[in-house]
């Protein structure tokens, strides 16, 4: 018998577990310590510490009706629930709850792909459907649509969207919550609700139009705790005729300002998918001791010093990889336009032709694609990103360690902001005793109207000191970022209050509004306590 959740008597908990078993079947209620441990966050930066967030038990419904029953039982006995989809939100909590002692509602068994309509470029899926599953479904039927996938393909299409996850193609698709259309939600009282056109008695236009009529409430179910989402519609890309890639390089450090303006223009017009900014000069540090010395000198290098070094070696200060999707002739024309536009504007800009593919690819072509770039760029889910998640190295081949979590502040989508963020965050990281590529860090462009200056912080299964240092650094750096107006777009569980607290306009009016809603729709506070920094009334003093 597991320990009951906080504030729940052992008798009430035992009764609730028995009722869960009646609702979903005995084998789908996991209450042994061994089974509950399967819900630990594998990348927890609090591993084996008293604060590690642990489930008391888990329940795995397979139908919407079962989810409703679970919620009603939880209400009756005031059992805190924490829904997960596939449980692979690694770096942001994985399959663990934010509030220790919660019963995880594991939706992995709800894995039906309810529809894929290639003509209307849309799909409706349940939370247990992974990107791999949806991709395979489409491939097996040779449907002429693409998904936009995040790096790890085993994640939930629904869960990723609900955590504001991201992908790699055109902006309107790689914002995964933004690309959803219509959802079904079990509310905290067990009632079933749908949003948008899915709320019509005839839901034939479920994934055609987001807003339906009246207020758009779907946003309340992302990074929040106002219900358990059981279905979502998504917009898919039509399979493009071709893909083209090209790289633009610019010589001087401050050329990043003009380069970003051009790239923004291209993206805002819908001419490119996700741009990939890099600093070739930054990469050169590994092989250029003089550059390392320049960067390490007291006070750091000036822009002019970096430019002189870059010029002497013929290394560009910055580059951007551009992705084009569409008719072959059209995207060739777009690439020509890029070269004319930027070539006429930034002296010394260079242009490198990249790969060109026509779709559909053969298996052999797909293998060849992987030699040159990420498969996610062409909507193919995979797991290759885990190559950068730590683990064994040539120097430490026996390590059983690995994992990371992320610090992901949003900054304005300008070159000036990149330079400023690097200066500020570089100092903050240095103060925290952690490395940061201060002069050369480039932003991630997943959310297409802002930059994300994402960095990873190491997690250890074996060394709590590494975890304590990473947590302390996160707190310190997030504080500095907030002072500059840079809030995070996601957070590991231990950071939700800090991150949410930074969105503090007018004495935290946003948080107070969410708390008012929480009290109204979930008076017993049973759904996902702490998610999005929103706590039920009886736990507001505790915080994460």
């Amino acid at each position: 018998m597991p320990s009951p959740p906080p504030g729940v008597s052992a008798a009430d908990f035992a009764t609730a577990l028995r009722k869960f078993e009646t609702a979903v079947g005995e084998q789908w209620v996991f209450k042994s310590d061994e089974d509950a441990a399967l819900y630990r966050d594998a990348y927890s930066p609090e591993r084996d510490e008293p604060t590690e967030r642990l489930a008391s038990a888990a329940v795995a419904p397979v139908t919407v009706d079962q989810v409703q029953q679970v919620v009603r039982i939880a209400n009756e006995h005031k059992i805190p629930l924490y829904p997960i989809s596939t449980g692979k939100n690694l770096g942001y909590g994985g399959s663990a709850p934010i509030l220790s002692g919660s019963v995880v509602v594991d939706l992995k068994r709800m894995n039906r792909i309810l529809s894929v309509d290639a003509g209307r470029c849309q799909a409706i899926v349940e939370p247990g459907v992974s990107y791999f599953d949806l991709y395979r479904y489409i491939q097996e039927r040779d449907l002429e649509v693409w998904i936009d996938t995040p790096d790890p393909g085993w994640g939930s299409v629904v869960g990723n969207a609900l955590d504001h996850g991201v992908g790699y193609t055109y902006g309107q698709y790689r914002d995964h919550f933004g690309s959803h259309c219509g959802m079904e939600v079990v509310l905290p009282n067990g009632e079933l609700m749908r949003t948008g056109m899915a709320a019509l008695a005839n839901d034939a236009a479920w994934a055609d139009y987001k807003y339906g009529f009246g207020p758009y409430v779907a946003g309340l179910f992302g990074q929040a705790n106002f219900g358990i989402v059981t279905k979502m519609g998504f917009w898919l890309l039509p399979r493009p005729e071709a893909y083209r890639r090209g790289t633009v390089s610019v010589p001087k450090r401050r050329d990043i300002v003009a380069l970003v303006e051009h790239v923004n223009y291209l993206e805002n017009l819908g001419l490119i998918g996700m741009p990939g900014f890099r600093s070739p000069l930054g990469f050169a540090q590994a092989r250029e001791p003089d550059l390392r010395a320049l960067v390490a000198k007291p006070g750091g290098p000036s822009d002019e010093e970096l430019d002189r070094f870059a010029e002497s070696k013929g290394i560009p200060s910055w580059s951007v990889e551009l992705q084009f999707y569409g008719p072959e002739k059209t995207i060739a024309g777009s690439w020509d336009y890029v070269q004319q536009r930027i070539g006429a504007s930034i002296p010394g800009a260079r242009f490198e032709e990249g790969v060109v593919y026509r779709f559909p690819l053969t298996v052999e072509q797909q293998a060849e694609v992987q030699r040159v770039h990420r498969l996610v760029d062409i909507g193919v889910p995979n797991m290759s990103i885990f190559a950068i998640a730590g683990g064994r190295t040539a120097q430490n081949p026996d390590s059983a360690d690995g994992g990371q979590f992320y610090f992901a502040p949003m900054i304005p989508r300008t070159g000036e902001a990149i330079l400023e963020a690097n200066r500020v965050l570089g100092e903050a990281y240095r103060d925290a005793g952690l490395p940061y590529n201060q002069y050369f860090s480039a932003p991630a462009c997943w959310h297409y109207r802002a930059f994300i200056m994402i960095t990873s912080l190491p997690v250890s299964r074996l060394n709590p000191e590494i975890n304590r240092r990473s947590r302390a650094a996160f707190r310190a750096i997030a504080q500095v970022a907030a002072e500059h107006g840079w809030g995070e777009y996601r957070s590991p569980p231990f950071g939700v209050d800090l991150v949410a607290g930074a969105y503090s306009f007018n004495d935290h009016a946003l948080r107070r509004f969410c708390e008012t809603l929480k009290d109204a729709v979930d008076p017993n506070g049973i759904i996902a306590a702490g998610r999005g920094g929103i706590w039920p009334k009886h736990l507001r003093g505790s915080r994460a």
């Binding site: 789908w28 995979n382 797991m383 290759s384 885990f386 390590s399």
Partner: protein, 127 residues
């Protein structure tokens, strides 16, 4: 509640050599199920093929290539001849390095049994 790495090693030692012995007819069906589970859950990281540009293998395979460099142990789990089912099960349920553990809603006990048997199918017979 938490099996330690020492006990994982102990399991390996106690379990001895693999599962290859006179097999009942249903064994083939179990191996087929095990391969399906392996293909679905494990191959994306532990299969053959390239990883990210600059990496010559998928992440799980690449990690095991580092671990067994200089030995004759294959980095591809399907080619191994020394994987003890109990060891496979502990790794799947506990995770290791950046590989997370897998829940029973993902890989059931029966599926894990089948997958472990599949990975032990090449082991030499117990003497």
């Amino acid at each position: 509640m938490r099996t330690t790495w020492l006990s994982v090693l102990t399991l390996v030692c106690l379990a001895g050599a693999g599962a290859a012995r006179a097999q009942p007819p249903e064994h083939d069906a179990q191996l087929a199920q095990g391969k399906r589970v392996y293909d679905y859950w494990c191959v994306p990281c532990h299969g053959p093929g390239l990883g990210l540009p600059g990496f010559n293998a998928l992440p799980g395979t690449q990690q095991l290539e580092i671990k067994y460099r200089g030995t004759n142990v294959s980095p591809l789990l399907e080619e191994r001849t020394d994987l003890v089912p109990e060891f496979v099960k502990v790794i799947v349920r506990q995770g290791v390095s950046f590989m997370p553990q897998f829940r029973k809603t993902e890989i059931s006990d029966a599926e894990l049994e089948a997958m472990a048997a599949y990975l032990a199918r090449n082991n030499p017979p117990v003497r």
